[in-house]
């Protein structure tokens, strides 16, 4: 195990335009998980978020819901996921974060889950239905025992006081939900959203901030990155996987990521 985490290294080395890509494990096909991760790394992203599919993803919009359903139909489970990730560190060097809902983790066994994460080289977790209070009371010690950083979400409705409390209890980065929305619900960044990004930027919080939900192309990535350390793309990337030519999956993933970063990508035909 590394002494300083991959997440800390990343934010130490890079303070802007950080690109995190989310996709659902076992999608579009069961054994695509690690090849997709490799392609994300080769394409030039900075963080990989691997979605753990769940039957009832309440914070997600239709695109990610559908990918969850397909992944489960493909036979994805946490047991299967850890089998797939067992050798990922031979080819993947980026920080890897698992994102999903609590229930499958509880059934797997929280401590066993954390232990497995550490074994295969997972760096952190994002669990939208784990509230801060429950995290502090029941999960924090186990997560940190296995070197896992927990990332909290904040939204435009989150009060300053609560943002500060969340900041104090975070040690990786903060996930800023860009609007009142589930994933993939809105696209583009409005002036009102930019004002919210600014308001949070001015709070002087200690953790880096990544903006997610509604980031789908070079323009929205650029706007988000202007006000934070970077952004997270999920639904738009799932659409790329869905529409990709299977024989050229890695190429299509690479083209999409390069397009997000430098603007040369035809989103209308692919996404």
């Amino acid at each position: 195990m590394m002494k300083t985490s991959r997440i800390d290294h990343l934010f130490k080395d890079k303070q802007e335009n950080i690109l995190a890509i989310y996709f659902t494990a076992g999608y579009p096909e069961l054994e695509d998980t690690v090849p997709v991760m490799e392609a994300i790394e080769e394409g030039g992203a900075d963080i990989i978020e691997v979605g753990m599919p769940f039957s009832d993803p309440v914070a997600d919009g239709p695109t990610i819901q559908e990918s969850n359903k397909i992944a489960l139909d493909n036979g994805m489970s946490l047991k299967k996921l850890f089998e797939q990730l067992a050798k990922m560190r031979e080819t993947v060097t980026l920080p890897v974060i698992l994102m999903g809902y609590l229930n499958p983790i509880i059934q797997y066994g929280v401590e066993e889950f954390c232990k497995k994460c550490q074994e295969v080289g997972v760096d952190g977790l994002i669990l939208p239905d784990l509230p801060m209070q429950q995290y502090l009371e029941e999960y924090k010690d186990i997560f940190s025992q296995y070197g896992l950083k927990n990332t909290f979400l904040i939204s435009p409705q989150t009060s300053e006081e609560r943002i500060k409390a969340i900041d104090q209890n975070s040690d990786g980065f903060i996930y800023m939900v860009s609007s009142h929305s589930i994933t993939g619900a809105k696209s583009g960044i409005s002036e009102e959203q930019e004002r919210y990004f600014e308001r949070v930027a001015e709070l002087g919080i200690q953790n880096p901030r990544l903006i997610g939900f509604g980031i789908s192309d070079h323009e929205s990535f650029g706007k988000a990155s202007k006000h934070a350390h970077g952004a997270i793309i999920g639904s738009a990337f799932i659409k790329v996987l869905n529409n990709a030519d299977r024989a050229n999956l890695k190429r299509d993933i690479g083209n999409f990521i390069k397009g997000i970063k430098n603007g040369e990508y035809d989103y209308t035909s692919k996404a």
Binding site: S55, D56, V58
Partner: protein, 393 residues
């Protein structure tokens, strides 16, 4: 052990508020304000006036002589089936719409399975002139067409939930998503004692009028407030919570909850959560949950859409866990028989949900002097097609 909710919304190890951060301000607002609002004298007055003049409360506590003769006990039926809209659901929607007004909300959203809670919500929205959107599984919309039309007639918009199994749990997912998308002006009226704290306790309080009335009515008829046994059916568990509420901490009263066994406990087509469920988290609450060994939520089955839910309200999980409640699992066929039996013995066609509670009489022990109150949560009009298909009457 006292049955009550703690300040974090837990009944023992069940409950809490496992919600995405986007909903935290809404849930926090409700948690901080709901008690103050519903205990306010002006609110209580409005609530009880509407329950009396609009819903038709108090509902009768009826001594069922022929049923008593057959089962050899003193059996009373609490007639929630006589509520406006045909079931107990409206007690809660009246309370929550008054609360939504106090919170300054402009729109109402709700989930519904069979459509009873959707109709009760559309009804109170019409009453108060508020915009109403009801999420309903696409499969349920097909199965329960009359209720879809009732909601539309009342002015509500009915939106199909097209994800997952397209039934109640998916309708609930969709309502939660829409609340995340519209957190400022919208109140979400949850229809059962499920969801994140404070919903389970809040809904139970609005339904607790049922046991409040039973106490007064039984005192008049039997000279005592406490029956020996209260029986109610449990899906999420709102009618049971209402019927049990004022008896939680009276150990002399047995609380019997009838769950839906569907085609049988081991058939793979069941909704008996306390038998088949394991500790889990769904819709913001830690409770018993029917799920695969990988923690994916299982689609339940019951002939009655109102009991067709893979979880159970956290208070009921707690009653089960500490042994305060007796849980029986009633199969589809037995519930149908009990529904036909009550129709012929007492001239009351029960909702198939409530028929599960009637059949529990065959599955528990009691003596001839025992006073038993069965909460007859709804009427069978909505189930006529199911009775016709069943055919054995």
């Amino acid at each position: 052990m006292k049955i009550e909710v703690d300040k974090n919304g837990f009944y023992g190890k069940f409950g809490g508020a496992y919600i995405p951060e986007m909903l935290y301000p809404n849930i926090e607002e409700l948690k901080e304000k709901y008690l103050g609002i519903i205990e306010d004298e002006d609110f209580k007055k409005k609530f009880s006036e509407l329950l009396r003049d609009y819903v038709g409360r108090p509902t009768p506590l009826y001594f069922a002589a022929r049923l008593s003769e057959k089962y050899k006990a003193k059996i009373y039926l609490k007639r929630e089936d006589l509520c406006h809209t045909g079931a107990h659901k409206v007690n809660n929607t009246i309370g929550q719409i008054l609360l939504a007004q106090k919170l300054g909300k402009k729109r109402i959203i709700a989930e519904t399975g069979a459509g009873q809670h959707g109709v009760a919500t559309a009804t109170v929205c019409a009453l108060m002139g508020m915009e109403c959107t009801v999420y309903m599984g696409e499969v349920d919309m097909e199965r329960q067409k009359p209720n879809v039309e009732r909601m539309k007639l009342l002015g509500a918009t009915v939106v199909p939930a097209t994800s997952g199994s397209k039934t109640l749990k998916d309708a609930t997912n969709e309502a939660m998503r829409q609340w995340i998308n519209n957190p400022v002006d919208t109140h979400y009226i949850i229809g059962s004692v499920v969801g994140p704290h404070p919903y389970p306790e809040m809904v139970a309080r609005f339904q607790s009028v049922i046991s409040e009335e039973i106490k007064i009515q039984l005192k008049e008829k039997e000279g005592r407030e406490n029956p020996d046994i209260v029986i109610a059916c449990v899906g999420g568990g709102s009618n049971a919570a209402g019927a049990f509420y004022h008896y939680y901490n009276s150990p002399d009263v047995r609380l019997v909850a009838a769950e839906a066994a569907g085609l049988g406990i081991s058939s793979g087509k069941s909704a008996a959560t306390t038998v088949l469920g394991k500790l889990g988290i769904l819709h913001g609450s830690r409770t018993l949950l029917m799920q695969t060994e990988d923690g994916q939520v299982v689609e339940p089955h019951s002939i009655s859409a109102g009991l067709d839910y893979p979880g159970i309200g956290p208070v009921h999980a707690h009653l089960f866990d500490v042994g305060r409640g007796e849980f029986v699992a009633v199969e589809d066929k037995d519930a149908m028989k009990a529904g036909v039996e009550l129709s012929k013995l007492e001239g009351i066609i029960p909702a198939i949900e409530s028929a599960h509670a009637i059949h529990a009489l065959n599955q528990i022990k009691y003596g001839p002097d025992d006073v038993i109150v069965i909460n007859l949560s709804g009427r069978g009009d909505k189930d006529l097609e199911t009775y016709i298909k069943w055919g054995e009457y």
